[in-house]
């Protein structure tokens, strides 16, 4: 199939179906309600399950119940809704079930605004819910990339038996771009016999399965959490993804930026090149695991004097960039946190201040 022009939110819904996930539960919230609207027509046609839950809290547990019986399942929401789902997300990680959560971020805190934002970085990458857990977080910078991340998310969730989050800013959901759905990204069936609670009769081994999150014995809980930790360490070894831009040049400054913001930075970098100023960029595609080594190496380049984090929030990624740069260079922040996307000119002005 060739390329079709689609709105990000609809493409994300379609990508899940193409990846082999036919179960969707959600609660409407701007700026991603189009996913639910699209799937409410499309899923019945594809023989799947669509249900609008009564709240994001309930939706997160519908996801848990369905995932715990071994079915592929996903939901989409936006920032305030993800806050409510965070309780369920904590339980799903503890219960070790695969599921995909999409957050098309809007501004916060509180109701914030409905314009694009990247203010849920901390919530997605550092926790959100309670307890020792991590999500594998992927951040698309285009509708095509959102499709590809969405399609690969199910296999990753199943590989680790852990939720995967697609973290997009509002523009990723609202933008229309040509997309294609690569057949190669269709998720293969995974073996769930030894954990899924889908009725003992379906399994060869006549033993029941249990999905639980309570470990009253401290040694047992410790062992359980260390086992979760081992999965997160494996993700750090195997799943780091990033894109390096203009890093072969002798750049004076390294930009770290992701999502829509990184596209603006790319334009700024191209324009600065024309003006004789070289700037490099690392664009994390996975926010957890974070491309620590790539940023360390890129910031350590001899010509590089500083790193600049450009984000549509008040600088939530800065501490991860600082951790990665490890004191080799100073780390600065530029961004806007009200819903406006900084323009290439504004980024250029900021860069010029730092490289003069």
């Amino acid at each position: 199939m060739g390329k079709v022009l689609m709105k990000g939110n609809e493409a994300i819904g379609e990508a899940a179906i193409r990846a082999g996930c036919l179960n969707y539960f959600a609660y409407p919230i701007t700026p991603q309600s189009e996913v639910a609207e699209y799937l409410s027509r499309r899923l019945p046609e594809a023989g799947g399950v669509f249900l609008q839950g009564e709240s994001e809290v309930a939706v997160s547990y519908m996801i848990f119940g369905a995932a715990a019986c071994g079915e592929r399942v996903f939901t989409t929401s936006s920032s305030p809704g993800i806050s409510l789902m965070s309780e369920g997300i904590s339980y799903i990680t503890a219960g070790q079930c695969p599921a995909v959560f999409v957050n098309i971020m809007r501004g916060g805190p509180g109701l914030g605004g409905i314009l694009p934002s990247q203010a849920d970085y901390m919530q997605s990458v550092k926790g959100g819910g309670h307890g020792d857990y991590k999500l594998l977080v992927m951040a698309p910078a285009s509708v095509q990339e959102a499709v590809e991340m969405m399609m690969s998310a199910f296999a990753l969730a199943e590989k680790y038996r852990n939720p995967v989050m697609i973290l997009g800013d509002g523009l990723i959901g609202q933008m229309m771009e040509p997309v294609e759905f690569p057949d190669a990204l269709k998720a293969k069936p995974s073996n769930k016999d030894d954990w899924a609670t889908n009725g003992m009769a379906t399994r060869s081994r006549n033993q029941r399965n249990l999905v639980k999150t309570l470990y009253l014995d401290p040694e047992e809980l410790n062992a359980h959490n260390l086992m979760l930790r081992a999965k997160y360490e494996q993700m750090e070894k195997e799943e780091v993804r990033y894109e390096a831009y203009n890093v072969d040049e002798d750049y004076k400054l390294l930009i770290v930026s992701y999502g829509t913001m990184s596209r603006v930075c790319r334009t700024a970098i191209d324009n600065l090149k024309d003006q004789g100023i070289e700037i490099g960029m690392i664009r994390p595609q996975t926010l957890f695991p974070f491309p620590k080594t790539a940023i360390y190496d890129a910031a350590g380049k001899k010509s590089c004097r500083a790193a600049l984090c450009v984000e549509m929030c008040m600088g939530q990624m800065v501490e991860d960039v600082e951790r990665s740069v490890s004191g080799q260079r100073p780390v600065h922040w530029y961004g806007k946190c009200g819903g406006e996307v900084p323009t290439p000119e504004e980024v250029i002005e900021e860069v010029r201040k730092l490289v003069k």
Partner: protein
């Protein structure tokens, strides 16, 4: 002649953590017997609540999920929507179902989700040490209503069966009790009816069981039964409040049965 009394296959061979005289054990046994009699153990998924029954999966021999506090009906919805062939039940206390999980139970009932709910109404939060529940009786002392529940402050106890029966979606809604063998036999019939409606894909089914918590009521098991009969049954009438065939017409609350 076969054995007249044996352990249901659905029940595990183990000692429970419940207090002496607690009715949780009786409710477990009834559920296990019904699952055996209906022959559905191999396709049943139970959902444990957060409350005294949080470890109930240790006492059964089929698949189980453990919910967060109050969220079991949402999990059951998730399972039944993606695997309608499975037999799913939640088992919830009154704090779990009628307080923190009120939204989940009302909406699951209203959507007519085809699963079964066993609702243990013991008028108190058992697991956390006897705090006030939405079902606590007027003037009943609990650790957070030390002078007795004052209804002017905290409202009247919630009658869940009646409240859910008021929804317009077809359902099977009944209140039973476990206070004596004659009640227990009726309760078992109701539980079997509830599972049957689910298996036939007919409707949402809900069995409230007026239960005791001798430990947190500060009573002997026998006094607890007496107290429940005298204080709870007149308020929490027993009976069938709704069937899918007859809607609310069948309302036969009867506290004298």
């Amino acid at each position: 002649m076969g054995k007249t009394f044996q352990k249901p296959e659905a029940l595990a061979e183990t000692i429970t953590h419940y207090c002496p005289g607690c009715t949780h054990g009786v409710a477990h046994r009834l559920v296990a017997e019904v699952i055996d009699e209906l022959g559905v153990r191999g396709k049943t998924v139970g959902i444990a609540p957060v409350g005294c029954a949080v470890l109930m999966y240790n006492y059964f021999t089929f698949d189980f999920q453990e919910a967060a506090h109050g969220r079991a009906p949402a999990m059951a919805t998730g399972i039944k929507r993606v695997r309608p062939d499975l037999v799913v039940f939640t088992y919830q206390g009154d704090g779990d179902l009628a307080s923190i999980g009120m939204s989940e139970i009302v909406h699951a009932a209203n959507r007519g989700e085809k699963f079964t709910v066993i609702f243990i109404n013991n008028a108190v939060y058992g697991m956390t040490g006897g705090q006030m529940a939405p079902t606590t009786m007027p003037d009943q002392r609990t650790t957070t209503s030390p002078f007795g529940r004052k209804v002017l402050d905290t409202g009247m106890p919630i009658k869940m069966a009646e409240m859910l029966a008021a929804l317009q979606t077809p359902a099977y809604i009944t209140r039973q009790t476990l206070l004596s063998p004659k009640y227990i036999n009726k309760a078992k019939k109701a539980i079997k009816q509830a599972f049957s409606y689910q298996i036939e894909n007919t409707c949402f089914s809900f069995v409230e069981l007026v239960s005791t918590c001798p430990t947190n009521w500060g009573m002997t098991p026998l006094d607890a039964i007496k107290w429940a009969e005298e204080k709870m049954l007149p308020y929490y009438s027993l009976g069938v409040f709704k069937t899918p065939e007859n809607g609310n017409e069948v309302q036969t609350p009867d506290s004298t049965q």
